[in-house]
């Protein structure tokens, strides 16, 4: 069965890069431009993994993780942060919110696919 992954990033180019990497590996992809847009895309369909940026307008990545964990239908959906942030403070904030992994941009496709394979 093809697995579905929700990509959340305010940078269209990053969404494209992540999307083509995941599609090339056989995943189905849904895109959202920020946290609020991502919440609007979680409308009942099965999502196996959420890959989200941290710094975004409207609703940032940490806020998105907290909102998703409040949603009974998606609270067990694993979330991986994909961000330029390298600081431990931000990582701990992500972990405390409920994120399962932290991948730093720029990333290698192999690293992204390996992490996705472990989580999805």
């Amino acid at each position: 069965m093809t697995k579905t992954i929700l990509i959340v990033d305010d940078s269209a180019s990053i969404r494209q890069v992540v999307g083509i990497t995941l599609k090339g590996a056989g995943y189905e992809v849904i895109e959202a431009c920020d946290g609020r847009d991502a919440l609007s895309k979680l409308t009942g369909q099965k999502v196996h993994l959420i890959v989200s940026d941290v710094n975004m307008p409207n609703l940032d990545g940490i806020g998105l993780v907290k909102e998703v964990k409040q949603n009974p239908q998606y609270k067990f959906t694993p979330i991986m942060m994909l961000t330029t942030e390298t600081g431990d403070t931000m990582k701990m904030a992500g972990r405390d919110a409920g994120a399962k992994a932290w991948l730093v941009k720029p990333f290698q496709p192999a690293a992204l696919l390996a992490a996705v394979a472990k989580l999805a």
Binding site: D9, S11, A12, S13, I14, Q16, V17, G19, I20, T21, G24, V54, N55, T83, T84, E85, T86, K91, G94, R95, A99, K100, A101, W102, L103, V104, K105, P106, F107, Q108, P109, A110, A111, A114, A115, K118
Partner: protein, 434 residues
């Protein structure tokens, strides 16, 4: 910036306590000048009083006049000294007044300079912010456009690769394709075998036709034998009729028999001739049929032989074509996958735009924040207060999201911006699992 600060400090000093001090000094100078005039009048009065007292005390003697003259001289000298001192103070006061005017003019100029700097920043900062915003937007749009086009190229390449792969698989990829080819070749060769069998059957039929020709020859011989026998019987019957005539009446019956035998011999001879004629006709037809059958067999043999050669040639060419197609398909797939991989690398390298966009967005935010603070002060009609530089910079640093920004903020030149080649390639190098 240092020059401006020094200028501002000088401006503050000149426009504040320094200015007041100078003004105070000038007023003090005028007071001293007034006191000097009083002292001069008092000195002159005392000298005159002293001279008159000396004249009255000493009397109008030579000594009295001398003392009076000395006192008058001292009074004149004292007056001259005091007057001279007064002129000196006046000069100093004039100089001080000029200095005050100079500094007042300088203060006004510096105020104007600060005001113009404030106005300049208020006007140029939004321009800078818009320029940065435009550059960021154009870069982002350009990269997104490039990314979309490259993505489309990758998708098309994948389609081409998949079509090529499925096409080869339908033909039978690798050994399967060769096996399919061999099976087809065997099927066609069995058809050729069937045609050869048909030719063999034709040969057998021709042999049978040839044997029929031999039998018709025998029939001809039989017909000739019948004619010969009929001839001999006819001769024998003729002799019998001659002998019957010699016998007279006694030979009449025998003559009748001889006549009947001659009739039979004649009929046998006609029958033999008829058989011979029919046999010749059959022989002619059989010969013609045999020639046509042999020609047909020859044509069939040539057709089968030619067909076999054509099939072998076609199969050889087909084999070459299939082999070439297999090699071309493999090359196409390999090249397509390599190009796809390179395009994906290019796409991954476009991640720099995200970092650039974030850094420029933070610069825009910083300029906007600074403008907002200045605007708030101007709106409240407040004097320009010195900014808390440390607090402002700390606020900036708190908003940074990339290591380059933090290094630049710390005074290091962030030349070692991470590029794709430097990103660790091991799968878990940049991933932290919680």
């Amino acid at each position: 910036m240092v020059t401006n600060n020094a200028l501002a400090s000088e401006l503050t000093f000149s426009g504040g306590q320094g200015d007041e001090g100078l003004r105070h000094g000038v007023l003090d100078g005028f007071e001293i000048h007034g006191e000097q005039m009083k002292v001069l009048i008092i000195v002159v009065a005392l000298v005159l009083v002293g001279a008159i007292a000396a004249l009255y005390g000493i009397g109008f003697s030579l000594l009295g006049f001398i003392c009076c003259a000395v006192l008058m001289a001292l009074g004149v000298y004292g007056s001259w000294v005091i007057k001279r001192a007064g002129r000196t103070h006046t000069g100093l006061l004039n100089h001080a007044a000029q200095t005050v005017e100079h500094y007042e003019a300088e203060v006004k100029r510096l105020h104007a300079a600060v005001d113009s700097l404030d106005t300049l920043f208020a006007q140029v900062a939004p321009v800078w912010s818009r320029q940065i915003g435009t550059s960021r937007k154009q870069t982002e749009e350009g990269i997104v456009e490039l990314t979309q086009r490259f993505s489309a190229m990758v998708e098309r390449l994948e389609q081409v690769i998949n079509v090529s792969k499925s096409g080869t698989e339908e033909l039978g990829d690798g050994e399967g394709m060769i096996a399919l080819f061999s099976k087809s070749q065997e099927s066609l060769q069995s058809v050729i075998g069937s045609l050869n069998t048909t030719l063999e059957h034709e040969d057998q039929m021709l042999e049978q036709v040839r044997s029929l020709a031999v039998q018709t020859d025998e029939l001809t011989e039989f017909a000739a034998g019948v004619k010969r026998i009929a001839f001999e019987i006819n001769l024998l019957a003729l002799n019998a009729a001659v002998e019957a005539a010699h016998a007279g009446d006694q030979g009449n019956g025998f003559a009748v028999v001889a006549t009947e035998v001659r009739k039979l011999a004649t009929q046998s001879a006609e029958l033999g001739k008829s058989i011979h004629d029919k046999t010749e006709e059959i022989d002619i037809v059989m010969s013609s049929t045999l020639r046509r059958a042999e020609q047909a067999k020859e044509f069939s043999s040539e057709a089968v032989s030619s067909g076999k050669e054509v099939i072998e040639t076609v199969f050889a060419r087909l084999h070459e074509t299939i082999t070439s197609l297999q090699e071309d398909g493999a090359t196409l797939r390999s090249s397509g996958q390599q190009i796809r991989s390179e395009i994906v690398d290019v796409l991954v390298a476009f991640q720099f735009q995200d970092r650039v966009s974030q850094i420029l967005a933070h610069v825009e935010d910083d300029i906007g924040d600074l403008l907002a603070r200045l605007g708030a002060q101007n709106a409240n009609g407040e004097m320009l207060e010195p900014l808390d530089v440390d607090a402002f910079l700390a606020d900036r640093a708190a908003n940074y999201s990339t290591d380059e920004e933090r290094r630049n903020h710390g005074g290091q030149v962030a030349e070692d911006v991470p590029v794709l080649e430097e990103v660790p390639t091991s799968e878990d190098a940049e991933v932290t699992f919680f």
